[in-house]
Structures are given as structure tokens and as C-alpha cells.
């Protein structure tokens, strides 16, 4: 980028208008979140203020306590459930994705290309199509209102397989695998000691994306769980339906559900964005 010929420097210069437009985009990306935090730290009367309140106050703890003590929403249970479900799903998606990705990228077996095509095809299918029989299936399994219902179906993902295969193709050399074989390594040993360490950067991105997606999932948990045993998102919805006039309480709960992901994003945002953009070009 720095080696542009001098003639094109003028061509590529960035006008102030560019920055103004981008700053506007930044402000509109941030403002709703900022507003959520402001309301979450104020008493509920503040929402009536004109102009709308713009600075936080110190009542966040009170508001949050009111949300936690609310016995229809079961917020605390929701947080615990979401942590469990998201962690288990993330660990499993990374494991199954890297295993299958390794197999598709580096092992030879009959039907490899056809099966990989099938994996990609499943990514195009809208998942909600099967939701009604799935609901019935969960009834039959006795998983209605159980965390199993929101965990087990998601333990492997097509996107995970696809992403790990793309990465493994270039990140692991065939010579290395061949050498390990000659040393007498079993396929599992090769996966565990050679492939998995090489896949670590992509595995981290996949893990982050999966965690965020699972944490934010709404439709299926909403269909199969009840407010007695909710995930965080279901709990937030329950709270907002029943107490939609108590904004500072609802927003305090919403903030608690949002902050962990924003922290994760601030720490790992560069990798996450890199992963998304790389995936886009390859797809």
C-alpha cells in the first residue's frame, strides 16, 4: 500500500468527506448501544426526559438486581444455561469441524468430493424448514425444555467443516503428514499432534464465531424452551414482554447479555474480522 506510484497518490487521497461519512457510520453503529447503557444506569423516569438522557448515572446495580430478582424471567438461570450451551457447542464444533476438515483436505477416501459438496449444499438450506417436526422429535426424546434440545443438534456445523477444510488445505503440508505416517503415527495421532496445532488460528476464529452465534441464538430456544429453564436470550424476551414499561430494568439485563460479546469482540475483533473477510473471498 505504501509503494503507490506518486501519480496515484492524488488519485487515492482520502477526502474529509470520506471521514465524515465513516464517522457518521460509526456513531450510528454505537449510539443504540450507548443509549442502552445510559438507560440501564438510570432510574426509569429518565426515559421521559427531553432531550433524551445522554450521560450515565449510578443505578446500574439496582436495575440489574431488580432484573435478577424477577421470578418469571429467571435471568440468572438463563445466563448459566447460555454459558453452558455456548461452551459445549463451541468446543464440539471446533473438534468435529477440524476432524472433518482435516479428513476432507488431507485424507483420501472414496466419495470425498461428493460428500464435501453435500456439506456445502446443506449450508444453503434454510434451517427453519424442519422446525415443526424437530419440535415433535424433541417431545418424543423427552428433551422439551431441556438444554439437550438446544445443544445436541448443533454439535457439528457445515460452516465449521467448510472453514476448517479451506484452512487445512493450505496450512498443513502433505509432506508433513506423509513423514508422520512413515514414523508410524496413526491417523488420530497425526490429527492430534500435527494437524490440530497447525489449525489453531482458524480454530480460534471458528470458536469465536460459533460462541457468538450460539449465545445470540433466539428462534429455536424460544420454540423449545420455557421461561422456567431459558437461555439468556429467551429470558430477555420474557422480561421485555412482561415488563416493557420498566425500561431501565430490561436494559440492564440486555446490557449484561451484550457486554460479554462486546468484550470478546474488542479483544479478538481483528481475528474475527479477518476470518469473516477471508471466508468471503474463498466462498
Amino acid at each position: 500500500m505504501t509503494t503507490l506510484p506518486t501519480g496515484s497518490r492524488r488519485l487515492w487521497r482520502t477526502s474529509p468527506l470520506t471521514y465524515i461519512a465513516l464517522v457518521l457510520a460509526v456513531l450510528s453503529s454505537i449510539y443504540p448501544l450507548y443509549y442502552m447503557f445510559v438507560i440501564a444506569t438510570r432510574s426509569n423516569d429518565a426515559i421521559n426526559d427531553t432531550p433524551p438522557p445522554f450521560t450515565p448515572s449510578g443505578l446500574f446495580r439496582d436495575n440489574l438486581n431488580r432484573a435478577l430478582e424477577n421470578d418469571t424471567a429467571n435471568l440468572l438461570q438463563g445466563i448459566v444455561n447460555s454459558v453452558i450451551v455456548s461452551s459445549v457447542v463451541t468446543a464440539s464444533v471446533v473438534l468435529t469441524g477440524s476432524l472433518a476438515g482435516f479428513a476432507f483436505a488431507k485424507l483420501k477416501f472414496r466419495g470425498r468430493n461428493g460428500l464435501m459438496l453435500a456439506v456445502v449444499a446443506t449450508m444453503m438450506v434454510p434451517t427453519q424448514l424442519g422446525i415443526i417436526p424437530l419440535w415433535g422429535l424433541m417431545q418424543d426424546l423427552g428433551w422439551y425444555d431441556s438444554l439437550l434440545a438446544v445443544t445436541v443438534p448443533f454439535l457439528a456445523s457445515a460452516f465449521g467443516v467448510f472453514m476448517m477444510r479451506q484452512y487445512a488445505t493450505s496450512a498443513v503440508s502433505d509432506e508433513l503428514i506423509e513423514a508422520a505416517r512413515i514414523d508410524g503415527c496413526s491417523t488420530w495421532r497425526i490429527y492430534w499432534s500435527v494437524v490440530l496445532p497447525a489449525l489453531r488460528p482458524a480454530a480460534a476464529v471458528l470458536g469465536l464465531l460459533t460462541f457468538m452465534q450460539t449465545w445470540n441464538e433466539f428462534v429455536w430456544p424460544f420454540a423449545i424452551l420455557t421461561p422456567e429453564n431459558p437461555t439468556l436470550q429467551v429470558s430477555l424476551a420474557t422480561l421485555s414482554y412482561a415488563y416493557y414499561t420498566d425500561y431501565s430494568m430490561v436494559f440492564a439485563a440486555t446490557a449484561v447479555g451484550t457486554v460479554p460479546l462486546i468484550v470478546v469482540f474488542i479483544v479478538f475483533g481483528r481475528q474475527i474480522i479477518g476470518g469473516i473477510m477471508e471466508g468471503a473471498v474463498k466462498a
Binding site: L4, S29, M36, I47, Q128, P133, T187, A237, I262, A280
Partner: protein, 322 residues
């Protein structure tokens, strides 16, 4: 590939003078390992998808041919659910709402994403990482949280949006009451969450365009606007098609925003002003278990719409962006 099996490395294990049973077992394992391990490794995805993805999908179709109670009996009725669907006003209302909000949300969103991506693609832009990251932040926030916060922003009496509009002399709008107001509010939620994501995808596509194409265009005296129109857009076509298809699949399944916008009311507004097809499917299944057969027909109709619109979009974007 079978080298390891026929010629075991001497360094491993005790040097055996003849093939011991342990060694033969190892040999057999190595052969088995080479042949079947790959299938074992890809099995988890296919097993899970088979049980929780494919099977319910096929079952949805079977269900749609029945009068099906999710917790009771079912009788085969052939295509009756589908013929009923064709003359069901509520269904067509939901179709209209879904497409209305899809267009209202997607067109400005992609235009804006294209615009922002083009700005972010300036090679001498300062703080590029900062801009990219912040623009993506809304996508990290859950749909439920977005709908809850925007539901408040779009309140009639003390919502920030109405306050802002009042600065320009606009009277307070009851966003949940009319078609166009509720559609606008819901589209804003969708766009807030997804514009940044699409911007980054388009930006990735733009960065794959060779720089010398622009150099050549500049030599020929093409303005920045002409370069965007004649170099960026045509080269961006594959990425753009990808983004459009993704938006179609997501947009036609719109569900959470309109649901939470009216406090979990599955019929949308009082007059079903913003009930989507997906919500109608829920109304006729999970919210009313005895009508699951009909809901399954709605699900297949939705699937069909997604396929048709995706293919249509694919053809149009491939043609027009040339």
C-alpha cells in the same frame, strides 16, 4: 500411503525377529485406520445433520400432507393444506409483509454497504482497523437485544426517533400502528445489525480486485465515480451475488424483530400489519399444536419462495451488474 504398514520403522517397539501377534494386530489396525478413519472423522456432521436436519425437513413435507396434531392424531388429506393456503388471506398478508420488509430493508442496506465498503477501500485511509471493527459491532449484538433496544427507540411517546423527528417539526408517530411505519422500524433494526457485516464482505471482494486495473483506468482519465462504476462493480459481481443470496435467505425468514417489536405477539400488529411468513408458520404449529400440518405447508411454501427468489436474484445480479 501404505508404506508405514509394510515397512514398520525399526525404532518403534522391541525389534521382533518374526511377526509377533502384537505386530500383526498393529498391521491390521494400520490398514483399518487408513481405510475407515476418514469416514469416522466426517461422521459426526453427517449423523447430526441426518437426524436433526434432513429427517425433519423431509418429515415437514410428509406432515404437510396431513391434518396433523403435534400432540395427537393425524390423518392423510393429500394436498388440501396447500389448496387451503392459496385462498388464505392471512397467509398472503404474511407473504406481502415479508416481501415488503425484505425489499425495504435489503435495497438500502446493500447500497449503503457498497458505499461504505468503497470508502473503507481507500488505500491511504487512516484508522482503517478502527472503522472496520466499529462498523461490525452491531452484528455482535443479539437479535433479541437489538429488537428490545430499537423497540424503545421507536416508542411513540418518548422514543428517541420521535424526539429527533420532532426537531424537524414532525408529529409523534405511532410506529406500531401503520403498515409503512412498522415496516420502516423493523427494516431499520435489520439494517442496523447487518449493514456492517455486508460492508466487510463487499470490502473483502473489493480488495481482491487488482490495483493495476484502477491505475489503467486512471491513465485513461476515468474519474473516481467512473472507476467505481466500470471497474469495481463488474469485478465485484461474484461477491455481490453471494451477499444478495445470503440476504435473501435471511431476509425472507424474518422473525425475531417483528415478534419482539410487538411484545411477543405472534400475529404482528393488531391487524397483522407486520406478521411475516415465518411468524405465520409458528402461529400454525408451535403456538397451536393441532394445526401443525398446515404450518408444515407454510414452511414448504416459505422454502419454495426462498429458492425462487434466490435463483431470480442470482440471475438478475449476474446479468445487470456487468
Amino acid at each position: 500411503m501404505s508404506v508405514s504398514a509394510t515397512k514398520a520403522p525399526p525404532s518403534r517397539g522391541a525389534p521382533a525377529k518374526h511377526a509377533s501377534p502384537g505386530r500383526r494386530a498393529r498391521y491390521r489396525f494400520a490398514r483399518w485406520d487408513l481405510k475407515y478413519s476418514p469416514y469416522l472423522y466426517i461422521a459426526p456432521f453427517f449423523v447430526l445433520f441426518g437426524i436433526f436436519g434432513l429427517y425433519p425437513m423431509v418429515w415437514t413435507f410428509w406432515m404437510s400432507l396431513h391434518d396433523w396434531d403435534l400432540v395427537g392424531t393425524h390423518t392423510f388429506i393429500g394436498l388440501e393444506n396447500y389448496t387451503a393456503l392459496l385462498s388464505d388471506d392471512y397467509f398472503w398478508n404474511a407473504v406481502r409483509n415479508t416481501f415488503g420488509m425484505f425489499v425495504l430493508a435489503t435495497v438500502p442496506q446493500l447500497a449503503l454497504a457498497l458505499f461504505l465498503a468503497n470508502l473503507l477501500n481507500r488505500p491511504l485511509l487512516r484508522a482503517r482497523t478502527f472503522f472496520r471493527m466499529i462498523i461490525f459491532v452491531p452484528n455482535v449484538v443479539s437479535v433479541a437485544a437489538v429488537a428490545i433496544v430499537f423497540g424503545m427507540l421507536f416508542q411513540r411517546d418518548f422514543g428517541v426517533v420521535n424526539w429527533f423527528l420532532s426537531l424537524f417539526g414532525v408529529d409523534a408517530i405511532d410506529w406500531r400502528r401503520e403498515w409503512w411505519t412498522s415496516w420502516t422500524a423493523i427494516s431499520v433494526m435489520v439494517d442496523w445489525r447487518w449493514t456492517g457485516y455486508n460492508t466487510l464482505i463487499l470490502l473483502a471482494g473489493m480488495q481482491a480486485i487488482p490495483r493495476d486495473l484502477y491505475e489503467a483506468a486512471a491513465m485513461d482519465g476515468a474519474s473516481a465515480w467512473r472507476q467505481f462504476w466500470n471497474v469495481t462493480l463488474p469485478m465485484l459481481r461474484p461477491t455481490f451475488v453471494f451477499v444478495v443470496i445470503l440476504s435473501t435467505i435471511g431476509g425472507l425468514q424474518l422473525f425475531v424483530e417483528p415478534l419482539i417489536f410487538n411484545n411477543g405477539n405472534i400475529i404482528g400488529g393488531t391487524q397483522r400489519e407486520f406478521q411475516t411468513v415465518q411468524m405465520y408458520m409458528f402461529e400454525n404449529s408451535i403456538h397451536n399444536l393441532s394445526r401443525a400440518g398446515y404450518g408444515a405447508a407454510v414452511a414448504w411454501a416459505l422454502f419454495l419462495m426462498i429458492v425462487v427468489v434466490s435463483v431470480l436474484n442470482f440471475v438478475i445480479t449476474r446479468r445487470s451488474v456487468k
